[in-house]
């Protein structure tokens, strides 16, 4: 983990390096993924079960692909009552936060005889993908499903790969049940994405696919975009802490490590106006690394994408934070709320020394599926809008159209679209 002085030069280098995480060429996998998609489209279940046998070493049929109620009951028994209770509390917090994002349709009658409006309706069926094995995070299940449920999506389908013996991760199943998934299928990989995008005999065709996955899953989602809606492709995790001399170095160090442990591509950055804080954070990191189970991953992540920057003043920290547009931004300064008002780009902002980032990952309620890789400049956390669609409503009375029909005909003719003009003109011939 380098310590550098923040200036135009180092900031530019930093931004280049962060974006550099994304340049891997995956074209070698694209053909494989496209072949899988084509095969699923052409052969449905039979191709799906073939792939599941090949990749997951699990033999499925139309009768066993869907998780049964008794499998879900079994999963509950595998988990501790305390964990189940925490998941329920977390789901409730997520629900309460996302309820506030809901919006109403509106319709408005105007004096000129026109009625205009916007209907907002849920999509009918959403699909969520959950990775298997170690990458199966029950918290992600809650974060993907609850917003769809709040949006009143009727059917919420989940796909997740089975183990060899046909079992599905118990945490995934219980989280799905708590969050309100309506059906779970034991399929994974690009084949699961294709099955949800196009439908097979067993898997329903969905309107939108969300949820993380490996490179095959990500490429399949991208390839199916347009046939279905997808969430944005998530990159490696990031945390940026901006801190002044009031920050507790031990807390800052612990928070940086919490994101660095995700994977070797994760990025953890501290920008501080205090050389003292910078020095102590580095020491604390070394101390923690002796005890943490994922220290190997953390070391690699910090070596490649970990930085400590010393900034001259608060404004430089804010400018850098806006340029980096971090997925997670912690503000640990004397007046964090005041600092926050100057931040334009961030996925989620954590204010003050007790708002540690994992609080947002697991518990507080806002979504932990956030824009990465500097895309917070234009993308948003997963939210209820992602499961809604809008329809415009237009109604003009005869009088209302009569008043403006010449204008519309003129505009259409200027664009050379005479049948457009004609459709207005015939009503007043």
């Amino acid at each position: 983990m380098q310590t550098l002085r923040l200036n135009t030069e180092t900031k530019k280098e930093l931004l280049g390096n962060l974006l550099g995480r994304n340049t891997g060429s995956y074209s070698e996998y694209e053909k494989t993924v496209n072949d899988i998609i084509d095969n699923i489209r052409a052969n449905g279940d039979s191709a799906l079960f073939d792939y599941t046998l090949k990749f997951d070493k699990c033999s499925l049929t139309k009768d066993t692909v869907k998780v049964t109620r008794s499998e879900i009951e079994e999963a509950y028994k595998e988990l501790s009552p305390e964990f189940i209770e925490v998941m329920k509390k977390s789901a409730e917090n997520i629900r309460v936060f996302h309820e506030k994002q809901k919006r109403n349709s509106w319709i408005e009658t105007n004096e000129n005889g026109s009625i205009l409006g916007q209907r907002i309706l849920p999509i009918e069926i959403s699909g969520i993908y959950v990775p298997g094995g170690k990458a199966a995070y029950p918290s992600s299940v809650l974060m993907n499903v609850v917003p769809a449920k709040v949006a009143c999506v009727e059917r919420i389908v989940m796909c997740t790969p089975p183990s060899k013996d046909g079992k599905v991760n118990a945490g995934t199943l219980v989280a799905a049940d708590i969050a309100g998934v309506t059906e779970v299928y034991k399929v994974g990989g690009a084949q699961a994405i294709a099955a949800m995008a196009f439908g097979t005999e067993s898997i329903p065709k969905v309107d939108k696919i969300t949820g993380p996955g490996n490179i095959f899953v990500a490429l399949a989602k991208k390839a199916c975009f347009g046939y279905v809606s997808i969430d944005s492709i998530a990159g490696p995790s990031e945390i940026l802490v901006i801190a002044d001399e009031t920050a507790n170095p031990r807390y800052v160090a612990a928070d940086l490590l919490s994101q660095a442990e995700h994977d070797e591509l994760a990025s953890a950055i501290l920008i501080t106006t205090s050389e003292e804080v910078a020095k102590k954070v580095k020491e604390e990191i070394e101390g923690f690394l002796k005890t943490l189970s994922r220290a190997d991953i953390i070391r690699k992540s910090l070596d490649n994408y970990g930085y400590i920057f010393i900034a001259d003043n608060m404004q430089d920290m804010i400018d850098a934070a806006n340029a980096i547009a971090s997925e997670h931004l912690e503000i640990i300064t004397k007046n964090p709320f005041e600092t926050m008002t100057k931040i334009k780009n961030a996925g989620a902002i954590f204010l003050g020394e007790y708002s540690s980032e994992p609080l947002g990952d697991y518990y507080a309620g806002p979504n932990h599926i956030l824009p990465t890789n500097r895309t917070a400049r234009f993308f948003s956390p997963l939210n209820v809008d992602d499961f809604l669609k809008k329809t415009s409503i237009i109604s003009y009375s005869e009088d209302a159209l009569r008043k403006v029909h010449n204008d519309i005909e003129l505009f259409a003719k200027e664009e050379g679209l005479t049948a457009h003009a004609n459709s207005i003109a015939v009503r007043f011939e």
Copy 2:
């Protein structure tokens, strides 16, 4: 244009045919587009000007690529005062409608000592692409730019290809000026998209690119997705009219033709419970075709993607409309508002016999950039949200975190993320 009875069989055929419009493989162009993008990223302006010379036969420099104020004044002089006046009225209607889509940030203090919120901010810089030549529609300029302006986007950049003599379509320039574009550049094609996505010496890097274009433009947008946000890829235009025996066949026919004239892939469909209406609409179409300037295009479009369906009852019409999820849906029935409440999937709905579709294209205010190709099941009209982004706000007091820290640590440990658990634990050690 075929007349068929609406039943499960014909509906299935119809949906297959509509989606079939999309199956063209464009992989042959992908390499060209990727090469252009790579070249722009590597060589900036110099590559951009080379392509403009090659494809648009126009020689540009850093000093001439940007449209000047006097060129805009010139453009005003080329248009009739009436046309300028109509564009201004249209822009105002679009503004008024989209103002109603705006949303506020919110922040909420809870009894337990937590503060949660959602900030909503405009993206900083948006880019709009406008095709050149015959495909330059001033109405599309208004529809793309005004929502960005309403969202308070600070910089709105437009790219549009020049003619050989370095001029830009006058209608495009005036519409851009009325709508509030801050700068216009004379570049087009995939090279313009790449320039906006990655920035060059002359063209600023933008956060989002919207606007229609040919296949090269569409592929470039798709390839740059992730580096920038893009709007959804628009397919050929569509209109669906559902009508009972009260509909005026002359109006229905004229409205079907208004969309069929767009291009040979456009689709115009009537579903009616009245055989009489079906018959007369067909006759009216034949009559109109004798006089319309774009009759050749219309004939091809109707031959391939035009249908008249006779439905047994209102419910069948509604079900079919929901399955087709048309970009434009006209409801011309005895009680159009009642029928509308049963429609789940449509881009824009036009109610009653005076709400002809071109009213929405040019004038009423709702956006005419709408989801095509059955994607209204999950996509929305272009709207103010497309130019906004959200950030979550999380702040817990010491007390608030103390009450729940065990829960969070437990959740993190269950997921095997010990550094996550540690970051909470250190605050209470």
